[in-house]
Symmetry: C2
Subunit: 383 residues, 2 copies
């Protein structure tokens, strides 16, 4: 079996790519923060994915980076980190906030005693804790702190060949999850049981984890754009919104499908087909050089022409990679142009008060229409 | 099958219990924040568990609370929330930070236009984002902001009968996960496949999800206090550290066990048995009225007497409930006394450079020795 991984050389290049952009933003150091449910930046720079605790990567203007972790993760981090220098700080401990009597961890002043800096960029700005920010600002009262998400996004937005391979494999495993569900779903199962069938199939076939908490929402629950599965038993004749995604070496894909159990009235079929056709149109339009906002406008226009304008919530696509949903969104207000090797989840979610559904598959942008990472069961089939 | 749930009345009482303590801390309003991987406070107050986006519950000094969510979660939140009033704010959107053109969501000023306050408590202080804090502080320059974790902890620390039932069921399902692993684990399986067996069994039998990302770490990986499973294939004669936990109606339990495949040298057996005996001792000592620090001291003394003092990292127990690991920790520096209906995971993790293991089971504190939520396979058995 092929092993999917990112090389040590590529990890080193990532840090250098960040350092190359730091002078432009006038940054002396950069701190990239991650949590268990938002692992992207630390996983991208160090291959480390925190659990229970949080983590950050500290990058100086030149020289080697540090992985910063909490008090309980040292042996775990040593087994995973591509960054050799690892420091443990109390600020990254778990939310239960143990005191760890007898431990002797450095504080920020000790950690940075040999690092002189005036400006620090923080990536993960939207989730960076006020408590850690306050510790830093108190310890270094002369320093200034800047949102550095844009710097990381520029480095991460076009995927390397190895990253594309991981995403292709994640999509293939996501298809395996969906296939297992299509084969086994039956009225009377709970939504949780159906979601678990997909997760088990993906893990058994080589996913490192699910890419997000997979869901299955049936009947009156199907119109939830974001959801979690419940103990509700699926009934005959219902629309079931299934979203399954696998993670491979840090890269997450997803497949979203409406499944129909035993019945599909003509008006529901028309609604579903309009969404499916909007998804196919999006793949056709996602081409290098095209303004992203124009793609969104054309897809939304199509959905409106089909008579479903009032069922739109967002979209029609969002970035994917380290997160199943990462920057950038393709929406009507987008101001960037598509580039080769940008990767997206085409994500057509439409819902009214009674029902909803999602058609979702991964896309790699190139010169022609986008490479489709998955396509299994992209049709209205009554099971 | 019995349905495990917390009643609407109990949810209303939780909000009133928070409000009852607010004058003591001189708080006019309270904001309790949660994320996908740290859902405790919002789940406790609203029964809502964010996914992709974040969330908070806003509690005024008197009157009804609000659930605050992101732009994509409205139908999901309406299907789950025990709090009737729901508002969507951009500050709780996902980290990919879509712009949602055309949407018309309130900002903090609009949301709080009829609420006059001078002091706001923030629960979830250690993870509350600097970005949201900054929005609030800019919008309400005269207000002061306080860490209110202690208030929520006081309300949450003793469990109700319904909460205890959820925890008992979560432990029972965790046992089912461990049983499935013990029955099926074989040399040659990957750690991920083994962990997935446990997760699938728990979900099939009624868990709403795993309580945390379950793990299995084998041989040289077994000494990781916190971990994630890898693609490493388990070998004969290895110590395998397995940690599985189910979540029921928001409540998470866990079971940790060392599994031995095919061989157990005498020195390893002595090490494992010392840990197991330390776990049994902890259950014996966890009694209402006993100072928590004294329990920790006695258990650590026992482990030192057995000759394994240098293998200690923390413990011997931590709170459990909405999080598998929540406040308070039982450690030698603890200053609180144990009370009836406090709940803990007894968690004896010992490790040296070559190997490690965890004996973990849930405990409910009462007058005598603690109620043990699980005990399956708490012995050194060579499979």
């Amino acid at each position: 079996m092929k092993s999917y991984t990112i090389s040590d050389d590529e990890f080193r290049a990532r840090v250098r790519n960040v350092q190359a952009l730091m002078p432009e933003m006038n940054l002396d150091i950069l701190l990239a923060f991650s949590t268990e449910s938002e692992p992207a930046y630390v996983r991208y720079l160090a291959d480390y994915w925190p659990s229970f605790e949080t983590a950050a990567v500290l990058i100086p203007a030149s020289g080697d980076p540090w992985l910063l972790i909490g008090p309980e993760s040292l042996t775990y981090a040593r087994s995973r980190s591509r960054i050799a220098s690892i420091a443990q700080l109390r600020d990254f401990r778990e939310s239960s906030q143990p005191a760890y009597p007898g431990s002797n961890l450095p504080d920020w002043a000790a950690l940075l005693r040999d690092t002189s800096f005036e400006t620090c960029g923080i990536a993960g700005w939207q989730m960076f804790p006020q408590a850690i920010y306050s510790d830093l600002a108190t310890t270094f009262p002369g320093a200034s702190w800047t949102n550095a998400d844009d710097l990381l996004r520029r480095v991460m937005i076009r995927k390397s060949p190895a990253e594309l391979d991981c995403l292709r494999q994640a999509a293939k495993l996501s298809e395996a999850g969906l296939k297992a569900i299509v084969e086994k779903i039956k009225p009377g199962m709970t939504e949780i049981q159906v979601a678990a069938i997909g997760a088990a199939a993906m893990l058994d076939k080589g996913a490192e984890s699910t890419g997000y908490p997979v869901w299955c929402c049936s009947g009156p629950n199907s119109n939830q754009a974001i959801s979690r599965p419940t103990h509700r038993r699926i009934g005959t004749g219902e629309v079931v919104q299934v979203c399954v995604g696998a993670k491979v070496a840090g890269y997450s894909a997803s497949i979203g499908r409406p499944l129909l159990l035993g019945n599909c009235p003509p008006d529901v079929r028309s609604f579903l087909e309009a969404g499916r056709n909007a998804e196919n149109l999006t793949f056709e339009l996602l081409r290098a050089g095209t303004p992203a906002g124009k793609v969104a406008q054309q897809v939304h226009d199509f959905i409106r022409q089909e008579g479903y304008g009032d069922t739109l919530l967002y979209g029609p696509a969002h970035g994917c990679g380290q997160m199943e949903c990462e920057y950038p969104f393709v929406e009507t207000s987008s101001t960037f142009a598509l580039e080769k090797d940008m990767t997206f989840m085409v994500d057509i979610f439409l819902a009214n008060k009674e029902m909803g559904f999602r058609w979702e598959d991964g896309a790699i942008v190139g010169e022609g229409s986008a490479e489709q990472l998955s396509s299994f069961n992209r049709e209205v089939v009554v099971l």
